[in-house]
Subunit: 430 residues, 2 copies
């Protein structure tokens, strides 16, 4: 790409940046937690439509994806799970195609009194935009969209097909991205601007979610000795799961990408609920666990060990021995994925193009990083032979209180993305 | 009392027993859990009214009781907390007066699939009536009412005033019984047919309820090491509370009534809730604790130690040290009570009268028992100088699944109660 075009694209990003921040702020104001993404998706669809993209909005149909590799089990129906894709069809089709992917779903805000300002009333302060989902990952959606806008502002369109995806379900299953694959959206590369501090993600972990349902023997607490407390029965099981977590993290079990990390795999007790009455020995409890696995680690083997650990521990409990825990898989069934293991020409070229764009936008070499989370990249990389580049702005406190995203970082990512598109896809006249 | 009258009263109980079981069944069908007692109370009021008792139904007003000894703090308002008292005013007033007390509130049923039949569709099988609240303590309410009916069937009324109380809130605060005291209901003795297997309760424990609110430092679980899990932070605190429980139960701390019991004081983790999202380190958790204390043990001292244990343990947690748990008292603030320590003439006479009635009804001597629960007896005994006799039928699985009450036991209790009333109050012509 000519230096002149790089400059023009960066200038166009600067030119449009106030609008981009306003867009991000508007998008972050939608409380698009799981099941509540529709209004945010309608906003995205309107924005794409206004720009002339070919629009495809559809409700995810489990029947169309449940047989596919990468599918994660869900407890609820998908009545309100709407994906939005805006397509640009290149007239010349001389360049490579690209998926620009981002997720619209955000995690719950948690107790509102622990936020300095309301999570869905975004505010800008000292160069940061605060709000739930601002970083994870609405800034990425904004970056994708305004990078394309920058090309348009230069009188150009990508010289290959672009599929702009705003998907649901990234935070719990990935079934939104999977549904895009199932619907036929394929390209030569994918870019996902998840908020990893302008680093290129070279490897990501797999994630398994499961619930453990425990029963107890309820009695009046006056006779607690004759009962079996379903809440406290969880504690040794949780301890045993943490022991398993330590084993999985042992040096000899780490693949090269994670060799330097003592504790890449985190087991999280994310939710718990149990009991109905303070003076009754609780009859039930349920806790929700997230456990990570390494790229290459088998989900089935991991599940087998998880189940063994839970049931073996339960058998040490006089009551649970005869009333074993129920293990319910209700979300992520995600394999790990390592872009670094993709030896294809497309992968090498895409990384090189991004590296170059990043250097121009930031003045720094592109840092490679193996992350301890999962992203939707796995669907493109593992199940569609598409190198998936995860590369997005710096954010802080994602999933926490006072989540915030660095707006100058979003500006740099947007510039790098615009240049990457221009390079990867080539350009044609609007 | 003449043998002839005893026989007639027992015969009248037998005569009315089918109606009594039908009444108990109808009453048990009302799902009168906390906040949902109104329809059951309306039923009780109708039954009392139809029998000619002077009716007093009123909503508990916290302002009228919160300054009184024995008051327990509540989190909710009392918009729907209705007490029902039916009074019989003796024409001759030659005998002693009596409060017949029972509570209408029942504890939650818990998961319905763990019941053999629906908890609020009572059924009779092999001499047991099954249903939530059938034993604890609607059979007692039935026994009180049908004992009075037996007198009436003999053409008699009690020769002293009778205050038939159907109260709310026994299962969480006792504020229903307290409100009866505050409204002026006083008598020479009280009888509460709680389901303790036809034994006379000579001592009961105090009970304190508290909630522990914990905060955490939420992060994306990918960075769990930087977060602080509010759910798992509960575990060491619960362990420390159990250590405290062991100390309080130590032989040297037991009063004479409980000297033979290794573990009279039970600490129960009855409820827990925490976290919003499986892949977020949870920012909050709350657990509910019931702890018992011995008669004579100070509530304030107990609370001081509970708070010390919780806060000391929290200070060992790097995050909680700077974000200490909040301890909320939201129910029982109940002192222990020992009828056995009541050296009044009324107490001795009431126990003797009950002993005699019990022997006649059952053929056995009255067994005395110190129980590991609390009852509303404390209000009469501690705050109104009224000996309170807790004496009711045999029930099983109270607060558990498939709660049931022994109908023949209810029959015996009803007979004993009828004879006790005849003896204690004397009789007059209807």
């Amino acid at each position: 790409m000519q230096d002149n075009l790089k400059e023009r694209l960066c200038g166009a990003v600067d030119e449009g940046f106030d609008r981009q921040v306003a867009f991000l702020s508007a998008l972050t104001a939608y409380p698009s937690t799981r099941g509540n993404e529709q209004s945010a998706q309608a906003f995205m669809a309107d924005e794409l439509d206004a720009r002339g993209y070919e629009l495809d909005c559809w409700q995810i149909d489990i029947a169309e994806i449940q047989h596919l590799p990468g599918f994660s089990p869900v407890l609820d129906q998908y009545e309100k799970a709407i994906n939005v894709v805006g397509s640009h069809r290149s007239k010349t089709d001389q360049g490579r195609s690209l998926i620009l992917n981002g997720h619209i779903d955000v995690v719950p805000a948690g107790p509102l009194d622990m936020w300095d300002s309301p999570p869905f009333e975004p505010r800008v302060e000292n160069g940061w935009l605060y709000g739930r989902g601002g970083g994870d990952m609405k800034a990425g959606l904004a970056s994708n969209l305004f990078a394309l806008d920058a090309l348009a502002a230069c009188g150009l369109a990508p010289g290959g097909d672009i599929f702009f995806q705003s998907v649901v379900e990234e935070e719990c299953t990935g079934n939104g991205a999977l549904a895009c694959l199932a619907r036929g959206y394929k390209a030569d590369a994918a870019l996902i601007p998840e908020p990893f501090s302008e680093h290129l993600v070279t490897a990501q972990l797999g994630v398994i979610w499961f619930q453990v349902h425990l029963k107890g023997l309820p009695t009046h607490v006056a006779y607690a000795g004759q009962g079996a407390n379903a809440i406290e029965a969880a504690f040794p099981i949780i301890r045993a799961l943490h022991d398993m977590e330590q084993r999985w993290n042992a040096a000899e079990n780490r693949p090269p990408e994670y060799g330097h990390m003592d504790h890449a795999l985190n087991l999280n007790i994310g939710k718990i609920e149990g009991g109905d009455w303070t003076s009754s020995v609780p009859a039930w409890s349920v806790f929700d666990v997230r456990m990570a696995i390494f790229p290459g680690q088998s989900i089935d083997a991991a599940k087998t060990e998880i189940e063994r650990v839970i049931l073996d521990t339960a058998r040490e409990n006089a009551f649970l021995r005869n009333s074993l825990p129920e293990i319910v898989y209700h979300g992520f069934h995600a394999e790990g994925y390592a872009l670094s293991r993709d030896s294809s020409v497309h992968a090498a070229e895409a990384i090189a193009a991004l590296d170059s764009a990043h250097q121009t936008a930031t003045g720094h070499a592109l840092v490679r990083e193996a992350i301890t989370a999962t992203t939707d990249a796995r669907f493109f990389g593992l199940y569609a032979d598409t190198p998936a580049l995860v590369y997005g702005p710096r954010a802080e406190a994602i999933h926490g209180f006072n989540e915030r995203v660095d707006l100058e970082s979003m500006r740099r990512i947007t510039k790098a993305t615009a240049m990457f598109i221009g390079d990867w896809c080539g350009t044609e006249e609007l």
